[in-house]
């Protein structure tokens, strides 16, 4: 049914990427920086969406995958003096391995138990970061030195602290992950994941190995979130334990719910919207958490499908 318009879907996504590319030259400095941050974090939301939106597994512990990438990249640069590409790969690998282990354990449970187990593992991860403060910097975190955040590509060296380079790097990661997500959810694997969400027993009966498919989804989701974390450490130069706290497990859930679960562009829309709502309201009030709380409740009460989910339902049935 939705396959009738693959060209339309790809055109839309390429259009969004092109628009973000063009925005680099239009946006004022402050908003350029904000957009770079939003794109890096939208990758986190996309990783979360893969598991929550498509497989229907609600995790309350994705901060651990994000911070696995953050620390995997940040610590190798800080302590071992690794270059940017190696550190990025190290971050993603850490996230994928952690996701494999957590997936093997947590997928033995389901429903409410899955949420609590993921939350507890994330809490352990957070406490471990505090416990090994000698290496991780604990509460204070670490600042990744500006000198080590330079990417050497065949002679040319790119300074990741430069606003335009930073924006383009964030966009590149965002674009790659967006296209990967789009391809994955349209693939056979993606269909099996949706089938598991709709009815796991029936999918099993049809001969699919649901546990293996779910595990693959957890690892993919963990790796994407870790990529976001690694990019965040390298682009913005700060690695801190607050990124591993419960709040950073809740935020991707909020962004995905807001943008629309199980829509490929929803995570971007949700992150963008939430960032600007907080940015604008911070002029009037410091009650940032109040806004997050009210947004969560209003969303589950009145817009459980989110912005793009509602648009898809009303007008654009082909939206992936």
């Amino acid at each position: 049914m939705r396959d009738a318009s693959p060209a339309k879907a790809y055109a839309l996504h390429v259009g969004v990427i092109a628009l973000l590319f063009a925005l680099n030259f239009v946006l004022p400095d402050y908003h350029q920086g904000l957009f770079a941050r939003i794109m890096a974090l939208a990758v986190f939301a996309m990783g979360y969406n893969l598991l929550f939106g498509y497989v229907g597994l609600l995790s309350l512990g994705h901060a651990m995958f994000f911070s696995a990438g953050l620390y995997g990249a940040g610590l190798t640069v800080h302590h071992l003096g690794w270059g940017v590409p190696e550190a990025f790969i190290a971050g993603v690998t850490c996230g994928a391995l952690l996701a494999l282990v957590i997936g093997l354990l947590a997928l033995r449970t389901s429903g409410v138990a899955f949420m609590i187990v993921t939350m507890m593992f994330a809490q352990v991860f957070y406490l471990l970061i505090l416990y090994f403060a000698a290496w991780t910097g604990g509460d204070q975190g670490l600042v990744v030195q500006q000198a080590s955040r330079t990417l050497n590509l065949g002679g040319a060296s790119l300074d990741l602290t430069d606003p335009t380079v930073r924006y383009m790097s964030a966009l590149a990661l965002f674009a790659v992950v967006l296209l990967i997500t789009l391809t994955v959810v349209r693939s056979r694997f993606g269909r099996v994941l949706v089938a598991i969400r709709e009815n796991e027993e029936r999918t099993k009966m049809l001969g699919y190995d649901t546990v293996a498919n779910k595990l693959a989804a957890v690892v993919a989701s963990g790796a994407i979130c870790a990529a976001s974390g690694a990019a965040y450490a390298l682009l913005f130069g700060y690695v801190g334990s607050s990124f591993a706290g419960v709040q950073y497990s809740i935020l991707p859930l909020l962004w995905v719910l807001l943008g629309g679960a199980a829509t490929t562009l929803g995570p971007l829309v949700g992150t963008l919207f939430m960032y600007y709502v907080t940015d604008i309201t911070s002029g009037f009030t410091s009650a940032y958490l109040l806004i997050v709380g009210v947004a969560l409740i209003l969303l589950v009460l009145f817009f459980p499908k989110g912005i793009l989910g509602s648009i898809r339902e009303r007008w654009l049935g082909w939206l992936p």
């Binding site: 309350l60 449970t109 138990a113 406490l127 416990y131 109040l290 969560l296 589950v300």
Partner: protein, 293 residues
Amino acid sequence: MHFGPHLLLAALEGLVTSAVLALTALGLSLVFGVMRVVNVAHGEFFMLGAVLAWAISTAISGHPAVGFVAALVVAPLLVGLVALVAERLVLRRLNYNPEGTIVATIGMLYIIQQLALTFYGPEARPVEPPFNYRILLPWFGYSGYKLSVVAASAILLVITWLVLTRTRIGLIMRATQYDRETAQAFGVPVERVYAGVFAVGAMLAAIAAVLIVPISQAHYLMGQDPLLLSFIVVIIGGLGSLRGTVVAAILIGLSDGIISMFFSPTLAKIIATLVVAMVLVFRPQGLFGTTPR
């Protein structure tokens, strides 16, 4: 101090933690058992109880005991009222859907926390204990108030157990827990039972907080540790099992008191959390619970 008295002190401190934890966890366990709702805002009801206790006891002049007793009566009632409103406005509209309610209670957590920060402020404030009596042991003196907290908690637990097993209200609650639809068919007002259980659960947390606030101060972030510990207790004890909850609370409270006196508190938390996660993975019904239907 020698090792023996040191251990006794650690055990006494652990017992006080256990007493407060048992009440808090019982509230969480009731809500989950009867309504199948994971109330992430439970710790904030605890915090709200403590903050209100401070407000009430400072508003009333005279002997500290008067203010404390007033707080012990009024604060839980106010918290119960807040919970009742939240249940009516939010949880009922979600039809108690497990995932929807988890997200909604996370929202409540942030709202209550932020409101407490805005109106109460970031300071930690003490409440005066109703009496200052030190029990002199051969090795050290110990606060009589702390021991009375243990006694009060034990009395409340027994009352709850009696209500659940010996009264008509308890019967209705257990019927709703056992099978919501059949209970409704037999004329049980399920929605009113849910509203009542949610309010009572929050009130138990608030009572625990009022009892503990003369020992540890009232602070707007104080709800986080009780929430995590209550989760741990409820999981180890088996969801919805009163006996299991009490046994697990004593176990966790004592081991927390003893481990954190001899080792780093962070390490104690890491081990406890990891153990609980593993229990949930490999024995989801808890150590004392029965296999869910």
